[in-house]
């Protein structure tokens, strides 16, 4: 995002709509007219989410979205949920994951789905940190979700390495999605602690399971036994989609 220095009056109102916490804006002074100040966005920190522009808060119409080329376009693809991802064909930065699972059969019994949403909530993440997490997960032998925008940026899915051209790009968040066999959950939970120490941001963790035949959710026990946090809220697919995936 950029600010037109001629139009901007330096009121600072747009800063409240910036998703990057604190301020990524500074002020400049017009050399021809030193009494006039204007706001400048730190382009290195801006994730191109477009929230400031869409808010309509700037009465001077000074905010504008310049055309973005590779690799900077990656920022917008991941940060602005209105941009339909070319890979997933859905708006946003994730996939259908469990939302359509009764139809797609993506998550089967015996496996858990998991995701690390790097940079969430509201901190943002550099792809160099996304790569650190992806490589740590790859070393556990996880299966990365094929139809996920982060997986598409990997140059090697066995190691979790990401295209070096995007490592210095920052996004509002990027979701690493994968499958693990149920018995590997304790190993994953230990790995999350180590990933947390290595990165310069935050991530939110998700876990997904097919409900067992007796109605139970098998991972609950693992979290209870390890006295680990697990939210009381969450998402439930209530099984109304057709055609139903045929399970063995």
């Amino acid at each position: 995002m950029k600010i037109d220095a001629e139009k901007c009056v330096g009121c600072g109102k747009c800063a409240s709509y910036c998703t990057m916490r604190g301020s990524i804006m500074s002020f400049g002074r017009n050399p021809k007219n030193p009494a006039k100040i204007y706001a400048v966005i730190d382009e290195k920190e801006c994730v191109e989410c477009c929230v400031c522009l869409r808010s309509g808060v700037c009465q001077q119409e000074a905010l504008y979205q310049p055309e973005l080329s590779w690799p900077r376009i990656v920022r917008k693809n991941f940060s602005d949920p209105l941009k339909i991802h070319p890979e997933t064909r859905i708006p946003g930065r994730g996939t259908e994951e469990m939302k359509t699972n009764e139809v797609t059969g993506r998550f089967k019994r015996g496996f858990y789905g998991a995701a690390l949403e790097m940079g969430r909530p509201g901190v943002g993440a550099w792809f160099r940190d996304v790569e650190k997490a992806a490589m740590a997960l790859a070393s556990l032998g996880v299966a990365f979700e094929e139809n996920n925008p982060v997986t598409k940026l990997m140059t090697d899915r066995k190691t979790g390495q990401i295209n070096p051209e995007v490592l210095e790009e920052k996004v509002l968040s990027a979701i690493i999605e994968f499958l693990i066999p149920q018995e590997k959950l304790p190993t994953l939970l230990e790995a999350l602690k180590k990933i947390a120490e290595k990165i310069d941001t935050v991530f939110s963790g998700d876990i997904i399971s097919r409900v067992e035949k007796d109605g139970s959710i098998s991972y609950l026990k693992v979290f209870q036994e390890g006295s680990r946090f697990l939210s009381i809220t969450g998402k439930s697919n209530v099984g109304l989609g057709r055609p139903k995936y045929r399970e063995d």
């Binding site: 009764e102 509201g122 109605g215 939210s231």
Partner: protein, 212 residues
């Protein structure tokens, strides 16, 4: 796409926060799904949601209901937010009876949504929980601010805006209700809960000070 997943708060304030939504499964039941999603939205609107929207168009505080309805296409994701479990049970019962053939997801306290499913004669198929936040937690705003900002899963409701709303309420420039609506607007999908936001602001504002 875990946009409704990581809502934070205590059991009491989360007990007034439910989202029901649908989308097509690409390559499986995409064909004809736009008409089904229109029917889905019509059903949900009968139950007076506090917010609704489509990821394609926007939420009902920014776009008209007609525009949202007309723009629905096969890549839409239709959401509506409700504040009590009795309504959620009724909606699930009606969706079961109408048998639209699209996947339906309900977000809320798991124990409560389980009861809603049972009352509607449904069984949960697949579930998802949040494992919480990891990493450099010093980068996060205060928990009370996070509870307001995380109701938009795409992080379109900035912590900076929450703090500005607190300031404007304190200065009596905005009512609690207007500030809650201001926070609701940037959440494009329509999953932000303005009723819960108002309650959270009433709790937060007396605790905050600001440097004038």
């Amino acid at each position: 796409m875990t946009h409704t997943l990581h809502r934070r708060g205590d059991r009491e304030n989360l007990s007034g926060d439910y989202i029901v939504f649908t989308m097509s499964a690409k390559g499986f039941n995409e064909e004809g799904s736009a008409e089904k999603m229109k029917k889905f939205l019509k059903i949900l609107l009968k139950y007076h949601p506090v917010n609704f929207g489509d990821m394609i168009t926007g939420n009902c505080y920014v776009k008209s209901a007609e525009e949202i309805w007309h723009n629905i296409n096969t890549t839409s994701i239709i959401h509506a937010v409700f504040t009590d479990e009795v309504t959620v049970s009724k909606i699930l019962r009606e969706l079961r009876a109408r048998d639209l053939g699209l996947s339906v997801v309900v977000t809320g306290i798991h124990e409560t949504t389980e009861e809603c499913c049972q009352e509607a004669g449904l069984q949960k198929h697949t579930v998802e929980h949040s494992m919480g936040i990891f990493g450099d937690l010093n980068r996060l705003p205060e928990e009370a601010v996070l509870q307001l900002s995380t109701m938009c899963g795409h992080a379109m409701v900035p912590a900076n805006l929450v703090l500005r709303m607190v300031k404007e309420i304190k200065k009596e420039k905005k009512s609690f209700q207007d500030a809650a609506l201001e926070l609701t607007k940037p959440c494009h999908c329509g999953i932000y809960n303005p009723a819960r936001a108002e309650k959270l602001l009433r709790r937060l504002v007396p605790l905050m000070t600001y440097d004038s």
